[in-house]
């Protein structure tokens, strides 16, 4: 489980996250949405400890991290939680195959069972020996996902990964996310493409001006209780 308690984050003088309280469970698909600049990516980065919150507590898989930080954390949650960026950040000097396998740490992992399964499912066999700049955006997206999944994380964060994909590719990603859920993985997905994920997500978190305004099941769309969400959905 990932829990956030009274989380605050400022950048310079502007407060990006205000009193965030949140709980993400394993085996659940959570969709984080909201207007541009509402703090979605910042929340994702703070929940995964890529950035440190100014104040509050994050609990990741039974390990508590309190802020402000008084001493260096001895145990970080990686690779039990993983992150896929909107811009992907595949290492450009490595082939797609090396990008996926590097984290496994051994010289030749091409016979690894998980690797083979991922390659088949994500249909990236043909581009494994190519460099990232020789692949299309959709292919790169799938390589980045394979890289995040190869270590079997318990939670995975997707930051607007479908923004550059067409409808078919987005459907494929949605299908993959459902499979991750079936395996018991927890998913937090930032997306603008709500229609595609409305039917598969368990929980929806609406962020507005750094605050969680509404948080719940599909019902929040049929019966929004706040002015902010009503305006956003119009």
């Amino acid at each position: 489980m990932i829990k956030a308690k009274n989380l605050y984050k400022s950048i310079g003088s502007s407060e990006i996250l205000k009193d965030i309280n949140l709980e993400l469970k394993k085996g659940e698909i959570n969709v984080l949405f909201g207007p541009s600049g509402s703090g979605k990516t910042t929340l994702c980065r703070n929940l995964s400890l890529l950035d440190n919150p100014d104040k509050g507590e994050v609990e990741i898989l039974d390990h508590k991290y309190s802020f402000p930080q008084t001493k260096k954390f001895t145990k970080l949650p990686y690779p039990k939680i993983s992150f896929v960026y909107q811009q992907l950040f595949l290492w450009p000097h490595l082939t797609n195959e090396e990008n996926i396998l590097l984290a496994l740490g051994k010289e030749d992992n091409t016979e690894n069972k998980d690797f083979k399964e991922l390659v088949d499912f994500l249909e990236i066999k043909d581009i494994l020996k190519r460099y990232p700049n020789e692949a299309s955006i959709g292919q790169k997206q799938r390589v980045a996902i394979a890289r995040a999944l190869i270590l079997n994380p318990e939670f995975i964060f997707f930051d607007e990964i479908t923004s550059a994909l067409d409808i078919l590719q987005t459907k494929k990603i949605a299908q993959l996310i459902q499979q991750l859920k079936a395996k018991g993985m927890g998913v937090l997905l930032i997306t603008h493409n709500l229609d595609q994920f409305k039917l598969i997500a368990d929980k929806f978190i609406f962020l507005h001006n750094g605050t969680i305004v509404e948080n719940g099941s599909f019902d929040i769309f049929t019966n929004p209780t706040t002015k902010e969400l009503k305006t956003f959905l119009q």
């Binding site: 995964s48 890529l50 970080l76 990686y78 690779p79 939680i81 993983s82 992150f83 960026y85 811009q87 992907l88 950040f89 595949l90 290492w91 450009p92 000097h93 590097l102 984290a103 740490g105 460099y131 990232p132 700049n133 890289r147 995040a148 270590l151």
Partner: protein
Amino acid sequence: MLQDTLDIIIRNKEGFLKGLLVTFQICVIVWLIGLVIGTFIGYFSTIYKILKNIIRTLSFVLSGVPVLVFLFWLHYPAQSLLHISVDPFYTAIFMLSLLNIIAVSEIVNNGVNNLPKQYVEVAKVCGMNSKDTFIKIQFPLIARHILPSLLTAQVNTLHLSLFASLISVEEIFRVSQRIISIEYKPVEVYTALGIFFLIVSLPINGFAIYLKNKYNRRLDEK
């Protein structure tokens, strides 16, 4: 004229070779000092801000005064003030090394700072330790990015080594001037000198352009 140039080179081959040897000695020492110390300083100046400020200040001051003036100042007034006598060869090495260290450290500093932090974050998320992250991710990416600029800076150092002649270092330019005073054929001698510099500089510059084109395409990813 080409025949005259060749004749002069052949007639004075010993002198030219000695001058070339001194120029190469200066360059190799300055390149090594600059690349090793400059890389260390450049890398650590991304961690320690005070180091970065020192390099910036030195760079600012040195870029405002011609190298020649510094060389003269180090060779004549500084040595007489300190009551010491240093071989001009070492004075030239000191001055050119200082310039190369600053140039290299600025290139390395920019290279490290310009690497998107997410490449390192991804490695962290994949559970890689800092040693592996440096060896497998940071170093190769930064090296590819800065190698062309480093090569260009070393060619620049080669050209700057000509100034050593003005404090009596017996390098190729000073030898050439002495040959001119014997042969009275400045055009031919300077042509020979130009050919020498082209032979050394062009392949390095060409290689720098090749690397820049090759790796910039790969780094388009970011």
